[in-house]
């Protein structure tokens, strides 16, 4: 017990390094924000109604994007909101030569001082003028500097995301490599998975088949991939017991992947003779067509155990209730939060959210896979640290009203914002 606790503290201490590195990155990247605008007053000769022109536009390539975009900013005309106050809007004019003909690209209403032109070609010089309009009268600003749009190779607004991704990956890979070197890892019991052997055993005793449903989504969902990986482990056990396995799928690509997996499992269990291509078969891509088929199969073949592991939607409860009516042992697992309540209510065992992803590692007993679970736990420690720190600072902010704490708190919130 004592020993374990030491391990725990040790792990938390490791976290201090990346967190301080993280903070450093952000402090360094703190001030990279756009240029201040110059104030210029270009007063031209004009008639009574002609508005004062806006200041010459400040132009720059829109930062951190994939090109083809230039940001134009200008000082409002002195007749916009003040002076004669009759400016109704601005036109944005563009030309490829400074003194060439300027073409209208867009118009904006009064009070606006920024426009993003997304109709540019990269690496071409552009000049902009902004025209203040007051009914039929107008006044143009002097032209801007030449500007080009270009693509950037790095988006610093996501530095925080990069740092978090790196830290998470670092821990996962760290524990994977530790496990590979033979360090023993403790992994807690996952109730739903302990039931797997029981379910397979019961089906064997009763001489009834096992139904395995890897969800209704295609291979572009990680849950489906997890479902197929678990099927791989399960199929090995089933092959040894010589029980009948039935895997109807609702996607053609899942058919291909699941077949490959089941075949390999039977091979590595030393039972290639028991394998047949009929184990995995395609039904239909249609959600409820698939459900209609599964319901029919369940009441006709009366499987002793039903596994629903993957991504499920509304059909979750239809399957679980039908499975229950035939008295099958049911093990479900999904990372669709909206469907978990139905599985929890109607199945014998449910793998809740993350447990589905842990299951494949748990069942494979592969040290590297188990290591990744510990890595994900480090991710939880990071999440808890952020929450602990953020909640404390926010509470202190409310209690003290101190601007220093407010600043610190805002910084923590920025660290977990999508736009750093």
């Amino acid at each position: 017990m004592r020993h374990k606790r030491c391990g725990w503290y040790f792990n938390s201490r490791i976290l201090i390094f990346p967190v301080s590195i993280l903070s450093l990155i952000f402090i360094l990247g703190y001030c990279h924000f756009p240029e201040a605008q110059e104030e210029t007053f270009d007063i031209l000769l004009r008639s009574e109604e002609t508005p004062a022109p806006p200041g010459p536009p400040a132009v720059h390539d829109t930062p951190y994007d994939s090109g083809e975009s230039i940001t134009i900013q200008w000082e409002l005309s002195s007749d916009d909101g003040a002076g004669k106050n009759h400016v109704t809007g601005y036109d944005i004019l563009r030309s490829e030569t400074r003194d060439g003909e300027y073409q209208l690209i867009s118009s904006v209403t009064k009070g606006v001082k920024e426009y993003v032109d997304t109709s540019t070609k990269d690496k071409v010089d552009y000049y902009y003028r902004v025209r203040a309009r007051a009914s039929e009268f107008f006044a143009d600003s002097s032209p801007s500097e030449a500007v080009q749009s270009k693509q950037q190779w790095y988006n610093p607004e996501r530095s925080n995301l990069l740092a978090i991704a790196v830290i998470l990956s670092f821990f996962i890979i760290l524990y994977i490599s530790r496990a590979k070197r033979g360090k023993k890892l403790f992994i807690r019991r996952i109730a739903g998975l302990e039931a797997v052997d029981e379910a397979v055993g019961r089906a064997t005793e009763m001489g009834k088949p096992i139904l395995y449903v890897p969800g209704i989504q295609d291979l572009d969902d990680v849950q489906t991939v997890a479902g197929i990986t678990i099927l791989g482990s399960l199929a090995k056990t089933i092959a040894k017991y010589d029980t009948k396995l039935d895997v109807p799928v609702s996607r053609s690509m899942v058919l291909a992947a699941a077949r490959e997996t089941v075949k390999q499992s039977y091979l590595s269990a030393g039972r290639p003779d028991a394998y047949s291509d009929d184990i995995v078969h395609y039904v239909t891509d249609e959600q409820f067509g698939y459900v209609a088929f599964l319901d029919g199969t369940m009441v006709r073949n009366k499987p002793a155990a039903c596994f629903y592991l993957g991504s499920f939607f509304a059909e979750s409860l239809i399957l679980a209730e039908t499975g229950n009516s035939i008295g099958a042992i049911q093990v479900a697992g999904t990372a669709q939060p909206a469907q978990l309540p139905f599985f929890v209510a109607a199945c014998d065992y449910t793998l809740i959210g993350e447990e589905l992803f842990a299951a494949s590692a748990y069942l494979s007993k592969e040290p590297r896979a188990l290591g990744s679970l510990k890595g994900a736990d480090a991710g939880k420690v990071i999440a808890l640290m952020f929450i602990g720190l953020g909640v404390t600072l926010e509470t202190l902010r409310v209690l003290t009203g101190s601007p220093a704490i407010a600043k610190a708190s805002d910084f923590i919130i920025r660290l977990v914002s999508l736009r750093f």
């Binding site: 374990k4 725990w8 925080n160 995301l161 978090i164 991704a165 998470l168 890892l185 403790f186 992994i187 807690r188 996952i190 291979l219 572009d220 969902d221 990680v222 991939v225 690509m253 291909a256 992947a257 490959e260 039904v283 239909t284 891509d285 249609e286 409820f288 067509g289 209609a292 088929f293 319901d295 029919g296 909206a338 978990l340 309540p341 139905f342 929890v344 809740i352 993350e354 447990e355 679970l373 510990k374 736990d377 939880k380 999440a383 808890l384 952020f386 929450i387 602990g388 953020g390 909640v391 926010e394 509470t395 902010r397 409310v398 209690l399 923590i412 919130i413 977990v416 914002s417 999508l418």
Partner: protein, 226 residues
């Protein structure tokens, strides 16, 4: 034509409902019809909705001039040859000697899945949910300190923390840690109970829709007799 459509629809509806009593030939008929028709439906949608506009029209636009004239004059985008090759690789499964090539296509797809989901979940669920949890425990509303809101905030914070502790895999759930994990599972149970209860009503409205449809059909029949 509409009358025929209502009749077919109504009979199929009744066939499916008959399953609630027990499995029977009517249900088997509807089920088998549904499987065949819907499998073909999605294939047709795949070909006309994806294959033609997103692959053929991209690789060689003039090919689709009779089908989608609007796309026939576009510039070809040759990189769409890649999914075409991968698709054909996938089909090598059918030719035993080179069936192993299909794994390349599967490897590509699974790599895509892993990469895309990594980014999406990191942004929207991991970072996004942490950010929403950063709230003060003590709530001061317009009228000063609010006991109710403070209590709610405490429930939220403790709930998230304990819920996360429940998901720890590499540490034994014992002692204080075990207690927190118990609280976590209770919070999850409240969540599940609440979501279940909340959804019950929505599910019933689907049935109302079907019943109204059958009512419409009975109206058609009654119309004949009056």
């Amino acid at each position: 034509m509409y009358g025929l459509q209502v009749w077919i629809g109504a009979l199929l509806t009744l066939m499916i409902f008959s399953f609630l009593y027990k499995d029977n030939p009517f249900y088997k008929f509807a089920e088998h019809l549904f499987v065949g028709v819907s499998a073909a439906y999605w294939m047709v949608v795949g070909v006309w909705g994806t294959m033609v506009p997103n692959m053929l029209a991209k690789i060689h636009p003039p090919l689709v001039r009779n089908v989608l004239p609007a796309l026939a004059t576009a510039e070809p985008e040759f990189h769409y040859i890649i999914p075409c090759i991968l698709g054909i690789l996938l089909l090598t499964r059918l030719i035993t000697p080179i069936a192993w090539l299909s794994r390349w296509a599967l490897a590509f797809i699974i790599g895509y899945t892993a990469g895309v989901r990594f980014s999406r979940y990191l942004q929207s669920d991991f970072i996004g949910q942490i950010k929403s949890s950063l709230i003060p425990i003590i709530s001061v509303g317009d009228g000063g300190f609010s006991i109710g809101m403070t209590f709610s905030h405490i429930v939220l914070t403790v709930g998230v923390v304990c819920g996360l502790i429940y998901f720890f895999f590499s540490k034994e759930h014992k002692g204080a840690f075990g207690a927190a994990s118990r609280v976590g599972i209770y919070i999850l149970m409240v969540t599940f109970g609440a979501s279940f209860g909340y959804t019950v009503m929505a599910r019933i409205s689907l049935l109302i829709g079907r019943m109204s449809f059958l009512g419409e059909w009975l109206g058609v029949i009654a119309g004949w007799f009056s």
